[in-house]
Subunit: 215 residues, 2 copies
DNA sequence: GGCACGCTGTGATGAAATTCACAATCGCCT
DNA sequence: AGGCGATTGTGAATTTCATCACAGCGTGCC
Protein backbone atom coordinates (compact mmCIF):
# COMPACT_ATOMS: atom_id res chain seq x y z
CA UNK A 1 0.00 0.00 0.00
CA UNK A 2 2.92 2.19 0.77
CA UNK A 3 5.23 0.87 -1.87
CA UNK A 4 4.95 0.96 -5.59
CA UNK A 5 6.36 -2.46 -6.26
CA UNK A 6 7.09 -5.29 -3.88
CA UNK A 7 9.02 -8.52 -3.85
CA UNK A 8 7.30 -11.65 -5.02
CA UNK A 9 6.73 -13.43 -1.76
CA UNK A 10 7.52 -11.61 1.46
CA UNK A 11 4.65 -9.54 2.91
CA UNK A 12 5.52 -5.94 3.63
CA UNK A 13 4.27 -6.14 7.22
CA UNK A 14 6.79 -8.90 7.71
CA UNK A 15 9.61 -6.66 6.54
CA UNK A 16 8.46 -3.94 8.87
CA UNK A 17 8.52 -6.33 11.77
CA UNK A 18 11.97 -7.62 10.82
CA UNK A 19 13.33 -4.18 11.52
CA UNK A 20 11.63 -4.28 14.90
CA UNK A 21 13.09 -7.67 15.68
CA UNK A 22 16.51 -6.45 14.71
CA UNK A 23 16.34 -3.53 17.05
CA UNK A 24 15.08 -5.77 19.81
CA UNK A 25 17.84 -8.31 19.24
CA UNK A 26 20.51 -5.66 19.30
CA UNK A 27 19.25 -4.59 22.71
CA UNK A 28 19.20 -8.18 23.92
CA UNK A 29 22.71 -8.69 22.73
CA UNK A 30 23.79 -5.63 24.65
CA UNK A 31 22.23 -7.23 27.72
CA UNK A 32 24.24 -10.38 27.07
CA UNK A 33 21.23 -12.56 26.46
CA UNK A 34 22.38 -15.52 24.39
CA UNK A 35 19.22 -17.35 23.50
CA UNK A 36 15.60 -16.41 23.11
CA UNK A 37 12.41 -18.26 22.24
CA UNK A 38 9.50 -17.00 20.22
CA UNK A 39 7.32 -16.99 23.31
CA UNK A 40 9.83 -14.75 25.05
CA UNK A 41 9.66 -12.41 22.09
CA UNK A 42 5.91 -12.29 22.44
CA UNK A 43 6.14 -11.54 26.14
CA UNK A 44 8.58 -8.71 25.63
CA UNK A 45 7.34 -7.10 22.45
CA UNK A 46 3.68 -8.01 22.27
CA UNK A 47 4.14 -9.54 18.84
CA UNK A 48 2.49 -12.94 18.50
CA UNK A 49 4.94 -15.82 18.77
CA UNK A 50 3.63 -17.63 15.70
CA UNK A 51 3.89 -14.39 13.79
CA UNK A 52 7.51 -14.11 14.72
CA UNK A 53 8.25 -17.65 13.62
CA UNK A 54 6.36 -17.27 10.40
CA UNK A 55 8.08 -14.01 9.58
CA UNK A 56 11.43 -15.72 9.92
CA UNK A 57 10.29 -18.75 7.97
CA UNK A 58 10.19 -16.69 4.77
CA UNK A 59 13.97 -16.62 4.90
CA UNK A 60 14.90 -20.09 6.06
CA UNK A 61 15.36 -21.79 9.38
CA UNK A 62 16.87 -19.96 12.27
CA UNK A 63 16.10 -21.71 15.53
CA UNK A 64 16.58 -25.01 17.27
CA UNK A 65 13.49 -26.87 18.46
CA UNK A 66 13.44 -27.17 22.21
CA UNK A 67 15.94 -24.35 22.56
CA UNK A 68 15.10 -21.21 20.69
CA UNK A 69 17.18 -18.75 18.70
CA UNK A 70 20.74 -17.68 19.16
CA UNK A 71 20.47 -13.94 19.65
CA UNK A 72 23.71 -12.97 18.01
CA UNK A 73 23.30 -15.21 15.02
CA UNK A 74 19.70 -14.19 14.43
CA UNK A 75 20.60 -10.55 14.71
CA UNK A 76 23.33 -10.98 12.13
CA UNK A 77 21.12 -12.89 9.74
CA UNK A 78 18.28 -10.39 9.90
CA UNK A 79 20.75 -7.59 9.31
CA UNK A 80 21.97 -9.40 6.24
CA UNK A 81 18.44 -9.97 4.98
CA UNK A 82 17.72 -6.27 5.31
CA UNK A 83 21.05 -5.44 3.71
CA UNK A 84 22.11 -3.37 6.66
CA UNK A 85 25.16 -5.43 7.40
CA UNK A 86 27.33 -3.05 5.40
CA UNK A 87 27.46 0.71 5.19
CA UNK A 88 24.70 1.99 2.96
CA UNK A 89 25.17 5.45 1.42
CA UNK A 90 22.16 7.77 1.51
CA UNK A 91 21.45 11.19 0.10
CA UNK A 92 19.29 13.67 1.95
CA UNK A 93 17.54 16.32 -0.09
CA UNK A 94 16.31 19.31 1.85
CA UNK A 95 18.31 20.65 4.78
CA UNK A 96 15.57 22.40 6.70
CA UNK A 97 14.54 21.51 10.21
CA UNK A 98 13.83 17.93 9.40
CA UNK A 99 16.78 17.31 7.12
CA UNK A 100 19.13 18.72 9.73
CA UNK A 101 17.62 16.54 12.41
CA UNK A 102 18.23 13.47 10.28
CA UNK A 103 21.81 14.45 9.55
CA UNK A 104 22.39 14.74 13.26
CA UNK A 105 20.61 11.54 14.18
CA UNK A 106 23.08 9.08 15.67
CA UNK A 107 20.78 6.08 15.24
CA UNK A 108 21.48 6.08 11.51
CA UNK A 109 25.14 5.20 11.72
CA UNK A 110 24.33 2.72 14.42
CA UNK A 111 22.29 0.85 11.85
CA UNK A 112 24.89 1.11 9.13
CA UNK A 113 23.21 3.90 7.26
CA UNK A 114 25.52 6.65 6.18
CA UNK A 115 24.43 10.05 4.97
CA UNK A 116 26.88 10.58 2.15
CA UNK A 117 25.53 13.88 0.90
CA UNK A 118 22.95 16.52 1.75
CA UNK A 119 21.44 18.96 -0.72
CA UNK A 120 19.36 22.09 -0.60
CA UNK A 121 18.19 24.68 -3.04
CA UNK A 122 18.53 27.68 -0.76
CA UNK A 123 21.75 29.57 -1.60
CA UNK A 124 21.96 30.67 2.01
CA UNK A 125 22.37 27.05 3.07
CA UNK A 126 24.57 25.77 0.28
CA UNK A 127 28.16 25.53 1.42
CA UNK A 128 27.28 25.55 5.10
CA UNK A 129 28.44 22.82 7.37
CA UNK A 130 25.83 20.71 9.11
CA UNK A 131 27.65 18.57 11.60
CA UNK A 132 30.62 17.56 9.48
CA UNK A 133 28.65 17.47 6.27
CA UNK A 134 28.67 20.25 3.69
CA UNK A 135 25.31 21.20 2.21
CA UNK A 136 25.53 20.92 -1.56
CA UNK A 137 23.56 22.52 -4.34
CA UNK A 138 20.45 20.62 -5.28
CA UNK A 139 21.33 21.20 -8.91
CA UNK A 140 24.36 18.96 -8.51
CA UNK A 141 22.53 15.87 -7.32
CA UNK A 142 23.31 13.92 -10.47
CA UNK A 143 26.99 14.72 -10.74
CA UNK A 144 27.61 14.20 -7.05
CA UNK A 145 25.82 10.89 -7.00
CA UNK A 146 27.94 9.62 -9.85
CA UNK A 147 30.69 9.51 -7.22
CA UNK A 148 28.71 8.57 -4.18
CA UNK A 149 26.45 5.94 -5.69
CA UNK A 150 23.63 6.38 -3.19
CA UNK A 151 20.64 4.25 -4.02
CA UNK A 152 18.54 5.57 -1.16
CA UNK A 153 17.22 9.14 -1.08
CA UNK A 154 15.46 10.83 1.80
CA UNK A 155 13.25 13.68 0.72
CA UNK A 156 12.76 16.44 3.28
CA UNK A 157 11.65 19.33 1.11
CA UNK A 158 8.25 21.06 1.22
CA UNK A 159 5.37 19.35 -0.53
CA UNK A 160 5.47 21.69 -3.47
CA UNK A 161 9.06 20.78 -4.33
CA UNK A 162 8.93 17.09 -3.51
CA UNK A 163 7.90 15.70 -6.88
CA UNK A 164 10.64 17.63 -8.62
CA UNK A 165 13.45 16.45 -6.38
CA UNK A 166 12.12 12.91 -6.55
CA UNK A 167 12.40 13.01 -10.33
CA UNK A 168 15.93 14.35 -10.06
CA UNK A 169 16.96 11.74 -7.53
CA UNK A 170 15.66 8.95 -9.72
CA UNK A 171 17.55 10.38 -12.65
CA UNK A 172 20.65 10.32 -10.48
CA UNK A 173 20.27 6.59 -9.97
CA UNK A 174 18.32 6.38 -6.75
CA UNK A 175 16.31 3.16 -6.42
CA UNK A 176 14.25 3.73 -3.28
CA UNK A 177 12.89 6.85 -1.64
CA UNK A 178 11.90 7.74 1.86
CA UNK A 179 9.49 10.62 1.48
CA UNK A 180 8.72 12.97 4.32
CA UNK A 181 6.75 15.41 2.20
CA UNK A 182 2.99 15.05 2.65
CA UNK A 183 2.19 14.22 -0.95
CA UNK A 184 1.93 11.07 -3.02
CA UNK A 185 4.90 10.85 -5.34
CA UNK A 186 4.41 9.62 -8.87
CA UNK A 187 7.34 7.40 -9.76
CA UNK A 188 8.16 4.61 -12.20
CA UNK A 189 7.13 1.06 -11.29
CA UNK A 190 10.60 -0.07 -10.36
CA UNK A 191 11.12 2.62 -7.73
CA UNK A 192 10.01 1.85 -4.18
CA UNK A 193 8.69 4.70 -2.12
CA UNK A 194 7.78 4.80 1.53
CA UNK A 195 6.05 7.76 3.03
CA UNK A 196 6.41 9.08 6.52
CA UNK A 197 3.86 11.62 7.52
CA UNK A 198 3.55 13.07 10.99
CA UNK A 199 0.38 14.75 9.92
CA UNK A 200 -1.17 11.48 8.91
CA UNK A 201 -0.13 9.83 12.14
CA UNK A 202 -1.42 12.72 14.18
CA UNK A 203 -4.68 12.68 12.29
CA UNK A 204 -5.22 9.01 13.09
CA UNK A 205 -4.47 9.68 16.73
CA UNK A 206 -6.71 12.70 16.75
CA UNK A 207 -9.56 10.58 15.47
CA UNK A 208 -9.12 8.21 18.38
CA UNK A 209 -9.66 11.01 20.84
CA UNK A 210 -13.30 10.93 19.93
CA UNK A 211 -13.83 7.55 21.50
CA UNK A 212 -13.06 9.07 24.89
CA UNK A 213 -16.52 9.83 26.08
CA UNK A 214 -14.95 11.41 29.11
CA UNK A 215 -15.40 15.15 28.90
CA UNK B 1 -0.97 -3.56 14.43
CA UNK B 2 0.32 -0.17 15.29
CA UNK B 3 -2.32 0.76 17.80
CA UNK B 4 -3.17 -0.77 21.11
CA UNK B 5 -6.89 -0.32 20.89
CA UNK B 6 -9.05 0.58 17.95
CA UNK B 7 -12.53 1.79 17.23
CA UNK B 8 -15.22 -0.80 16.75
CA UNK B 9 -15.83 -0.48 13.04
CA UNK B 10 -13.51 1.69 11.01
CA UNK B 11 -10.36 -0.05 9.72
CA UNK B 12 -7.14 1.72 10.62
CA UNK B 13 -5.91 1.77 7.02
CA UNK B 14 -9.05 3.73 6.22
CA UNK B 15 -8.18 6.35 8.82
CA UNK B 16 -4.69 6.62 7.44
CA UNK B 17 -6.06 7.23 3.99
CA UNK B 18 -8.54 9.80 5.26
CA UNK B 19 -5.62 11.97 6.25
CA UNK B 20 -4.23 11.57 2.75
CA UNK B 21 -7.54 12.52 1.20
CA UNK B 22 -7.74 15.54 3.42
CA UNK B 23 -4.35 16.78 2.35
CA UNK B 24 -5.23 16.15 -1.27
CA UNK B 25 -8.54 17.97 -0.99
CA UNK B 26 -6.91 20.97 0.63
CA UNK B 27 -4.59 21.21 -2.34
CA UNK B 28 -7.48 20.85 -4.75
CA UNK B 29 -9.35 23.58 -2.97
CA UNK B 30 -6.35 25.85 -3.27
CA UNK B 31 -6.43 25.16 -7.01
CA UNK B 32 -10.10 26.17 -7.07
CA UNK B 33 -11.34 22.75 -8.10
CA UNK B 34 -14.98 22.52 -7.08
CA UNK B 35 -15.92 18.93 -7.79
CA UNK B 36 -14.07 15.66 -8.01
CA UNK B 37 -15.05 12.06 -8.75
CA UNK B 38 -13.59 8.94 -7.23
CA UNK B 39 -12.00 8.03 -10.55
CA UNK B 40 -10.27 11.39 -10.61
CA UNK B 41 -8.94 10.66 -7.16
CA UNK B 42 -7.59 7.37 -8.39
CA UNK B 43 -5.90 9.01 -11.35
CA UNK B 44 -4.24 11.64 -9.21
CA UNK B 45 -3.33 9.73 -6.10
CA UNK B 46 -3.11 6.13 -7.24
CA UNK B 47 -5.61 5.04 -4.62
CA UNK B 48 -8.28 2.74 -6.01
CA UNK B 49 -11.58 4.50 -6.68
CA UNK B 50 -13.68 1.87 -4.96
CA UNK B 51 -11.38 2.08 -2.00
CA UNK B 52 -11.98 5.79 -1.77
CA UNK B 53 -15.72 5.39 -1.90
CA UNK B 54 -15.73 2.59 0.63
CA UNK B 55 -13.54 4.55 3.00
CA UNK B 56 -16.01 7.39 2.93
CA UNK B 57 -18.97 5.07 3.27
CA UNK B 58 -17.98 4.31 6.84
CA UNK B 59 -19.01 7.83 7.72
CA UNK B 60 -22.12 8.42 5.66
CA UNK B 61 -22.85 9.63 2.16
CA UNK B 62 -20.80 12.36 0.66
CA UNK B 63 -21.23 12.42 -3.09
CA UNK B 64 -23.85 12.79 -5.78
CA UNK B 65 -24.20 9.98 -8.32
CA UNK B 66 -23.36 11.17 -11.79
CA UNK B 67 -21.56 14.19 -10.38
CA UNK B 68 -18.98 13.40 -7.76
CA UNK B 69 -17.95 15.10 -4.54
CA UNK B 70 -17.94 18.76 -3.62
CA UNK B 71 -14.32 19.41 -2.73
CA UNK B 72 -14.90 22.02 -0.10
CA UNK B 73 -17.66 20.16 1.66
CA UNK B 74 -15.81 16.85 1.62
CA UNK B 75 -12.69 18.49 2.94
CA UNK B 76 -14.64 20.01 5.81
CA UNK B 77 -16.39 16.79 6.67
CA UNK B 78 -13.21 14.72 6.71
CA UNK B 79 -11.59 17.34 8.91
CA UNK B 80 -14.49 17.03 11.31
CA UNK B 81 -14.28 13.25 11.30
CA UNK B 82 -10.60 13.40 12.18
CA UNK B 83 -11.29 16.08 14.79
CA UNK B 84 -8.87 18.45 13.19
CA UNK B 85 -11.41 21.15 12.64
CA UNK B 86 -10.44 22.84 15.88
CA UNK B 87 -7.09 23.59 17.50
CA UNK B 88 -5.72 20.53 19.23
CA UNK B 89 -3.11 21.07 21.96
CA UNK B 90 -0.08 18.78 21.90
CA UNK B 91 2.86 18.27 24.17
CA UNK B 92 6.30 17.41 22.83
CA UNK B 93 8.66 15.56 25.13
CA UNK B 94 12.29 15.70 24.14
CA UNK B 95 13.74 18.81 22.53
CA UNK B 96 16.68 17.30 20.70
CA UNK B 97 17.15 17.43 16.97
CA UNK B 98 13.85 15.84 16.21
CA UNK B 99 11.78 17.62 18.82
CA UNK B 100 13.12 20.96 17.64
CA UNK B 101 12.32 20.10 14.06
CA UNK B 102 8.74 19.33 15.02
CA UNK B 103 8.38 22.53 16.99
CA UNK B 104 9.48 24.45 13.93
CA UNK B 105 7.34 22.53 11.50
CA UNK B 106 4.79 24.89 9.96
CA UNK B 107 2.58 22.08 8.63
CA UNK B 108 1.35 21.38 12.13
CA UNK B 109 -0.49 24.64 12.65
CA UNK B 110 -1.75 24.42 9.13
CA UNK B 111 -3.59 21.27 10.18
CA UNK B 112 -4.87 22.74 13.41
CA UNK B 113 -2.34 21.06 15.63
CA UNK B 114 -0.79 23.30 18.22
CA UNK B 115 2.29 22.51 20.24
CA UNK B 116 1.29 23.87 23.60
CA UNK B 117 4.36 22.80 25.53
CA UNK B 118 7.76 21.21 25.02
CA UNK B 119 9.75 19.43 27.68
CA UNK B 120 13.25 18.14 28.13
CA UNK B 121 15.31 16.70 30.91
CA UNK B 122 18.58 18.37 30.03
CA UNK B 123 19.14 21.37 32.34
CA UNK B 124 21.07 23.05 29.56
CA UNK B 125 17.95 23.14 27.44
CA UNK B 126 15.36 23.93 30.07
CA UNK B 127 14.39 27.57 29.93
CA UNK B 128 15.69 28.06 26.42
CA UNK B 129 13.47 29.43 23.72
CA UNK B 130 12.78 27.26 20.71
CA UNK B 131 10.98 29.41 18.22
CA UNK B 132 8.60 31.16 20.57
CA UNK B 133 8.22 28.21 22.85
CA UNK B 134 10.04 27.85 26.14
CA UNK B 135 11.47 24.41 26.91
CA UNK B 136 10.11 23.24 30.26
CA UNK B 137 11.39 20.75 32.78
CA UNK B 138 10.31 17.21 32.10
CA UNK B 139 9.56 16.84 35.79
CA UNK B 140 6.74 19.35 35.43
CA UNK B 141 4.76 17.50 32.77
CA UNK B 142 1.88 16.75 35.08
CA UNK B 143 1.47 20.18 36.63
CA UNK B 144 1.82 21.96 33.30
CA UNK B 145 -0.67 19.70 31.60
CA UNK B 146 -3.23 20.42 34.26
CA UNK B 147 -3.40 23.86 32.63
CA UNK B 148 -2.86 22.93 29.03
CA UNK B 149 -5.01 19.83 28.83
CA UNK B 150 -3.09 18.20 25.98
CA UNK B 151 -4.39 14.76 25.16
CA UNK B 152 -1.76 14.10 22.51
CA UNK B 153 1.90 13.59 23.35
CA UNK B 154 4.76 13.32 20.92
CA UNK B 155 7.73 11.44 22.31
CA UNK B 156 11.11 12.42 20.86
CA UNK B 157 13.49 11.16 23.52
CA UNK B 158 16.08 8.41 23.11
CA UNK B 159 14.89 4.83 23.29
CA UNK B 160 16.21 4.32 26.80
CA UNK B 161 14.07 7.14 28.19
CA UNK B 162 10.93 6.60 26.13
CA UNK B 163 9.04 4.21 28.36
CA UNK B 164 9.52 6.49 31.33
CA UNK B 165 8.24 9.62 29.68
CA UNK B 166 5.34 7.68 28.20
CA UNK B 167 4.30 6.62 31.69
CA UNK B 168 4.56 10.20 32.88
CA UNK B 169 2.57 11.55 29.97
CA UNK B 170 -0.20 9.05 30.57
CA UNK B 171 -0.25 10.01 34.22
CA UNK B 172 -0.61 13.61 33.10
CA UNK B 173 -3.79 12.77 31.22
CA UNK B 174 -2.52 12.08 27.72
CA UNK B 175 -4.76 9.75 25.72
CA UNK B 176 -2.78 9.09 22.58
CA UNK B 177 0.93 9.01 21.86
CA UNK B 178 3.02 9.51 18.78
CA UNK B 179 6.25 7.69 19.51
CA UNK B 180 9.42 8.42 17.59
CA UNK B 181 11.64 6.31 19.81
CA UNK B 182 12.51 2.96 18.28
CA UNK B 183 11.01 0.79 20.98
CA UNK B 184 7.65 -0.77 21.63
CA UNK B 185 5.90 1.09 24.42
CA UNK B 186 3.95 -0.84 27.01
CA UNK B 187 0.82 1.13 27.79
CA UNK B 188 -2.66 0.50 29.21
CA UNK B 189 -5.36 -0.80 26.85
CA UNK B 190 -7.14 2.52 26.53
CA UNK B 191 -4.11 4.41 25.30
CA UNK B 192 -3.51 4.52 21.57
CA UNK B 193 0.07 4.57 20.38
CA UNK B 194 1.45 5.07 16.93
CA UNK B 195 5.08 4.55 16.16
CA UNK B 196 7.13 6.37 13.60
CA UNK B 197 10.50 4.90 12.90
CA UNK B 198 12.89 6.11 10.21
CA UNK B 199 15.06 3.16 10.90
CA UNK B 200 12.26 0.77 10.21
CA UNK B 201 11.30 2.55 7.03
CA UNK B 202 14.89 2.67 5.87
CA UNK B 203 15.30 -1.00 6.62
CA UNK B 204 12.32 -1.90 4.48
CA UNK B 205 13.68 0.23 1.67
CA UNK B 206 17.12 -1.23 2.07
CA UNK B 207 15.67 -4.70 1.69
CA UNK B 208 14.15 -3.72 -1.62
CA UNK B 209 17.53 -2.80 -2.99
CA UNK B 210 18.25 -6.47 -3.28
CA UNK B 211 15.73 -6.99 -6.01
CA UNK B 212 17.83 -4.79 -8.27
CA UNK B 213 19.81 -7.44 -10.04
CA UNK B 214 21.64 -4.66 -11.78
CA UNK B 215 25.16 -4.50 -10.44
C1' DG C 1 19.06 -45.29 26.33
C1' DG C 2 14.52 -44.00 26.30
C1' DC C 3 10.98 -40.90 27.70
C1' DA C 4 8.94 -36.45 28.46
C1' DC C 5 9.05 -31.73 27.71
C1' DG C 6 9.79 -27.43 25.03
C1' DC C 7 10.10 -25.15 21.00
C1' DT C 8 10.35 -24.70 16.03
C1' DG C 9 8.48 -24.61 11.34
C1' DT C 10 4.36 -24.80 8.67
C1' DG C 11 -0.12 -26.36 6.61
C1' DA C 12 -4.79 -25.30 7.70
C1' DT C 13 -8.03 -21.97 9.39
C1' DG C 14 -9.82 -17.58 10.33
C1' DA C 15 -9.99 -12.55 10.05
C1' DA C 16 -9.25 -8.32 7.71
C1' DA C 17 -8.69 -5.44 3.95
C1' DT C 18 -9.05 -4.63 -0.89
C1' DT C 19 -11.18 -4.95 -5.19
C1' DC C 20 -15.00 -6.15 -8.13
C1' DA C 21 -19.36 -5.48 -10.04
C1' DC C 22 -23.81 -3.74 -10.23
C1' DA C 23 -28.28 -1.58 -8.88
C1' DA C 24 -29.75 2.98 -7.80
C1' DT C 25 -29.36 7.87 -8.66
C1' DC C 26 -28.44 12.28 -10.79
C1' DG C 27 -28.09 15.75 -14.34
C1' DC C 28 -27.88 16.86 -18.98
C1' DC C 29 -29.24 16.78 -23.73
C1' DT C 30 -32.58 16.36 -27.14
C1' DA D 1 -40.43 14.67 -20.67
C1' DG D 2 -37.74 10.80 -21.14
C1' DG D 3 -33.60 8.42 -22.03
C1' DC D 4 -28.49 8.18 -21.62
C1' DG D 5 -23.85 8.61 -19.80
C1' DA D 6 -21.55 9.25 -15.59
C1' DT D 7 -20.86 8.29 -10.84
C1' DT D 8 -22.14 6.83 -6.28
C1' DG D 9 -22.76 3.41 -2.43
C1' DT D 10 -22.38 -1.32 -1.19
C1' DG D 11 -23.02 -6.54 -1.01
C1' DA D 12 -20.11 -10.26 -2.76
C1' DA D 13 -15.72 -12.13 -4.29
C1' DT D 14 -10.95 -12.03 -3.86
C1' DT D 15 -6.68 -11.32 -1.97
C1' DT D 16 -3.71 -10.53 1.78
C1' DC D 17 -2.38 -11.03 6.47
C1' DA D 18 -2.67 -13.07 11.22
C1' DT D 19 -3.53 -16.89 14.16
C1' DC D 20 -4.16 -21.62 15.32
C1' DA D 21 -2.69 -26.14 16.03
C1' DC D 22 0.15 -29.85 15.48
C1' DA D 23 3.86 -32.95 13.62
C1' DG D 24 8.72 -33.38 14.22
C1' DC D 25 12.96 -32.50 16.29
C1' DG D 26 16.37 -31.58 20.01
C1' DT D 27 17.58 -31.61 24.79
C1' DG D 28 18.09 -33.08 29.29
C1' DC D 29 16.56 -36.07 32.94
C1' DC D 30 16.01 -40.48 34.99
Amino acid sequence: MNSSSSSPKVPIPTLERLATYLRFLIDLEASHVETISSTDVEKQTGINAAQFRKDLSYFGEFGKPGVGYNVQELQARIARILKIDQLQPIMVIGAGNLGSALIGYPGLTEHKFHIAAAFDRDPAKIGCLQGNLMILDEADVCTVNADIGARIAIICVPASAAQGVADTAILAGVKVILNFAPIILRVPERIVVRNVSFLQELAVLSYHLSSDTKK
